[in-house]
């Protein structure tokens, strides 16, 4: 039994999700105590419960302490089974986070799986669908398995109601060297929206353009989605390199001006463009699990977040594999497994 103190490190939710995934892959039970102990609302939140329920549903695992507000969770893993699964996620949760919980076990399961995930696809708590599809899954596919994801319908906060479909063809994970991103192939800015005045995405785009003067007018696009999917708006800035793709986003929020969202997103994109790292902060978090399970490989990234350090710590405890984090330049870091 692996005992994890949930009040240590950052990202109580990520800790729970990664522990479930690693537990299913390694067959080791775990217990998390003091879940989100330092938060104003401690204990498991609804989206965490949903993620653990999904992990249990694909494997017949047994949980105790699985309820909203619970500060201690015990998870005794079953065996992940390939199959067709459908999970619906409540309003603030995200389909991406459920995928993050069940993807590794299903990648290493005994056959292909198909997932239908309903709920939020583009909301604040998690990277948007586009990030999963174009930044994260291509790396997984280069490691061996075949995973494809399709966005059927957008789901914005607070309405939710989005839908994504994921096809998973398992294969062993091969170690990968992701230390270089290669030459820049192209950039793109998109602002899909619905149920709002069209000037809002336009103002986001205008402001982002001002911050990114090298990007051409044709790189920016506004897309109106069907009214009933809204309200919602997101600005996604994408940079495609030979080896890597990064997407940063600004989520439309009540009470935050379109200009501020555009400016913040552009500043984050500039930060990525100006460095040489393969993985931005969010991709780095997500790469820890597949790299550790591949048993080797390396990637470069920006200044490590507390989330990344916690993810490394949890992965090491379940697999016993050493994960090293080394600073290479002022902001450049290298993570390698071996």
């Amino acid at each position: 039994m692996i005992i994890i103190d949930g009040s240590e490190g950052e990202g109580g939710g990520q800790m729970v999700r990664n522990s479930c995934a690693l537990s299913l892959v390694t067959g080791q039970p775990f217990r998390i105590t003091n879940i989100r102990g330092k938060r104003s609302k401690p204990g498991l939140m609804r989206q965490h419960v949903t993620a653990v329920e999904a992990a249990a549903a694909i494997s017949g695992s047994a949980c105790s302490g699985l309820s909203v507000g619970s500060s201690e969770l015990t998870f005794t893993p079953g065996k992940a089974r390939a199959g067709d699964y459908r999970f619906a996620v409540g309003t603030a949760g995200s389909t991406g986070l459920v995928l993050q919980t069940v993807l590794m076990p299903l990648l290493l399961a005994d056959g292909p799986s198909r997932l239908v995930l309903e709920g939020g696809t583009h909301n604040m708590q998690a990277p948007p669908f586009d990030f999963i599809e174009r930044c994260f899954l291509p790396v997984i596919n280069r490691m061996g398995p075949r995973v494809s994801a399709r966005l059927v319908r957008h789901g914005f906060y607070p309405r939710g109601g989005g839908r994504i479909e994921v096809e998973i063809a398992p294969a062993p994970l091969a170690p990968l060297d992701c230390t270089r991103r290669g030459a820049l192939l192209g950039v793109r800015a998109q602002a899909p929206y619905c149920g709002l005045a069209g000037e809002i995405p336009q103002r986001m785009i205008d402001r982002a353009r001002k911050e990114l003067p090298n990007w051409g007018a044709a790189d920016f696009a506004i897309r109106k989605l069907p009214e009933d999917q809204g309200p919602g708006v997101i600005l996604m800035l994408e940079a495609r390199y030979q080896e890597a793709t990064e997407i940063v986003s600004g989520f439309g929020q009540l009470g935050v001006t379109a200009e501020r969202l555009g400016k913040t997103a552009a500043a984050r994109m500039r930060g990525y463009l100006e460095c040489e790292a393969f993985a931005g902060p969010y991709l780095a978090d997500q790469l820890i699990l597949p790299f550790v399970l591949a048993g080797g490989g390396a990637f470069t990234t920006v200044k490590p977040s507390q989330h990344l350090i916690t993810a490394i710590d949890i992965a090491q405890r379940f697999t016993g594999r050493a994960v090293r984090l080394e600073q290479q330049s002022e902001s450049g870091h290298r993570v390698w497994v071996g």
């Binding site: 609302k41 204990g43 939140m45 609804r46 989206q47 419960v49 949903t50 309820s67 909203v68 507000g69 619970s70 619906a88 996620v89 409540g90 309003t91 603030a92 949760g93 309903e118 709920g119 607070p158 309405r159 939710g160 109601g161 619905c194 149920g195 709002l196 009214e227 009933d228 809204g230 309200p231 009540l254 009470g255």
Partner: protein, 531 residues
């Protein structure tokens, strides 16, 4: 943890919105409460009228979108008048009784933000009465930015769970306990615990209270403070009526308690209300209830059970509603066994029984009570009397020692303070005054408490009496009693030395007696002078 069930009215105004994307910019309580990360609603019991079925459809759909975990269970409840208290309460009570709810298996939250005010009040009442076995749920829009989810909070009607309220309750309770103790900072743990209990009982019940304890333990004072406390808390009006049942002997007892009609008996020149009527709406303190006759006991029992009784000579019953506090220094259970006290009345009184310890059993409280008595004296006489330091130490040393029996309890203490204060005209009690008082108390307790007054104090000073050995005292008491009734010293001598007179030829009984009396500073003149 158990799954959560919410019982809620559909808000015909609050939950309504233009059907379009903009509805998500508005706070709708029914939808909003299914949007919280820290609240998972598994079962949503939605109450609405037929008129609002379409709105209920929309809201149900939106709840499904934001909370796939939630199963919405719709109940149509049509009110003729949703502001009519009687109708709404009755319908909701039926609804609550018919609703399958398992509080052991689900955590029930009763949402009181939607519905008419009358409906909200009824939900509150049903929850408080446990017809709806749950806690109250309140939601509200978030302040500042518009937000679809709003905020939520659970109100537990058990107020002791709220820290600040619990602290206030504790403070008030401490204040009330202190009030019952007349502000005296008593230190005896058993006594303090008892007062805390009385405080709790007094504010929650109008049932009779029985105060047991020796004479002078403070039963009467405590009863009065209980009444004043209840009056202060607006739990009681009326007045405090106190009577010592030992004074209600014979024919007049019935009339004093229950009143009489004019002409009911000789001397009944006018109507008399009686003590029970005077206590209507207030409190009746029957001290020494064990002294009450059996007939009066039966009437009292009826009066506390039915609030009705029959005045003497009346053909119509009178009514009075009062709280009864009974005091006794007898063992009422033993009186029941002996047949002098009614068992049914005892059973009725024996619900809240408190035994007040005597002062000797709570010596640690003597010092605070001494200060209290000094304060009382000052209040009464308008003049403050204080001890000098040594005098106070001497007095307390004696008061706390086993030599001080305090057989009259607080009555003795109060009298003692009054004496010392009176004998200290300059307002300062000194060592000499204390020494004299100690002698008085000693003599009071040496025999006064256990045997009848032997009359020695008529002839000797209290100090002299206090200095007597019990061995001498008995003898001297008999001697002075004989002297007091004899016509001459010789006659007294003959009576006292009668046995030896028989055996001896010549005797001088008078001389022998004179010498004996002289040892105690007495002479024959003392007896002649006072006869």
């Amino acid at each position: 943890m158990k799954p959560t069930t919410v019982i809620s009215f559909l808000g015909s105004t609050l939950d309504a919105a233009k059907f379009g994307p903009s509805r998500w910019m508005k706070w709708r309580p029914s939808v909003g409460l299914c949007m919280h990360e820290d609240l998972r609603v598994d079962r949503f019991v939605m109450i609405h009228g037929n008129l609002h079925s379409r709105l209920a459809d929309y809201v149900t759909q939106d709840i499904a979108a934001v909370s796939p975990e939630t199963r919405v269970e719709r109940h149509v409840l049509d009110f003729a008048d949703a502001w009519d208290f009687e109708e709404v309460y009755g319908r909701l009570l039926d609804f609550a009784r018919g609703l399958p709810l398992d509080p052991d298996a689900e955590d029930v939250l009763v949402h009181i933000t939607t519905g008419t005010h009358v409906a909200q009040i009824c939900l509150f009442l049903l929850t408080e009465a446990h017809y709806l076995p749950g806690r109250l749920l309140q939601t509200q829009p978030r302040r500042g930015a518009p937000d679809a989810a709003g905020t939520w909070s659970v109100i537990d009607l058990d107020l002791s769970r709220y820290d600040s309220i619990a602290t206030r309750f504790a403070n008030e309770s401490a204040e009330r306990s202190s009030f019952l103790k007349s502000g005296i900072e008593t230190r005896n743990p058993a006594f303090n615990t008892m007062i805390d209990e009385i405080e709790q009982v007094a504010s929650r019940t109008r049932a009779p209270i029985l105060l047991m304890g020796p004479t002078g333990a403070g039963k009467s004072q405590l009863a009065r403070r209980i009444f004043e406390l209840k009056k202060l808390k607006r739990q009681m009006g009326g007045s405090f009526v106190e009577v010592n049942c030992a004074t209600l002997r014979g024919d007049s007892a019935m009339s004093a308690l229950f009143g009489h009609r004019k002409g009911a008996f000789t001397g009944a020149a006018a109507d008399r209300a009686g003590l029970l009527r005077s206590a209507d709406g207030g409190m009746l303190f029957l001290d020494e209830i064990g002294e009450l006759g059996l007939d009066e006991q039966a009437m009292i029992l009826r009066a506390i059970e039915d609030k009705h009784f029959l005045p003497v000579g009346a053909d119509k019953e009178a009514q009075s509603e009062f709280q009864l506090i009974a005091g006794t220094n007898r063992d009422l259970a033993a009186c029941v066994a002996a047949g002098t006290f009614r068992e049914d009345l005892y059973a009725r009184l024996n619900l809240w029984t408190f035994t007040l310890p005597g002062l000797a059993e709570r010596r640690e409280d003597i010092a605070p009570n001494l200060d209290y008595e000094l304060d009382r004296h000052a209040e009464r006489e308008g003049e403050r009397v204080t001890f000098n330091k040594e005098a106070r130490a001497d007095y307390l040393a004696f008061a706390l020692s086993p030599a001080a029996r305090w057989s009259g309890n607080f009555r003795d203490l109060a009298a003692s303070v009054t004496r010392m204060a009176t004998f200290s005209p300059k307002g300062r009690i000194d060592v000499a005054a204390v020494t004299k008082e100690i002698a008085r108390l000693k003599s009071l307790w040496t025999d006064g408490a256990e045997t009848d007054d032997d009359g020695l104090e008529r002839w000797l000073s209290a100090e002299a009496v206090a200095d007597l050995d019990p061995f001498d005292r008995v003898q001297l008491a008999y001697v002075v009693e004989t002297c007091a009734t004899a016509r001459s010293l010789s006659e007294a001598g003959r009576t006292l030395f009668a046995a030896s007179r028989e055996k001896r030829a010549s005797t001088n009984d008078a001389d022998r007696l004179r010498k004996y009396l002289a040892r105690f500073g007495l002479g024959w003149d003392d007896f002649r002078g006072r006869q």
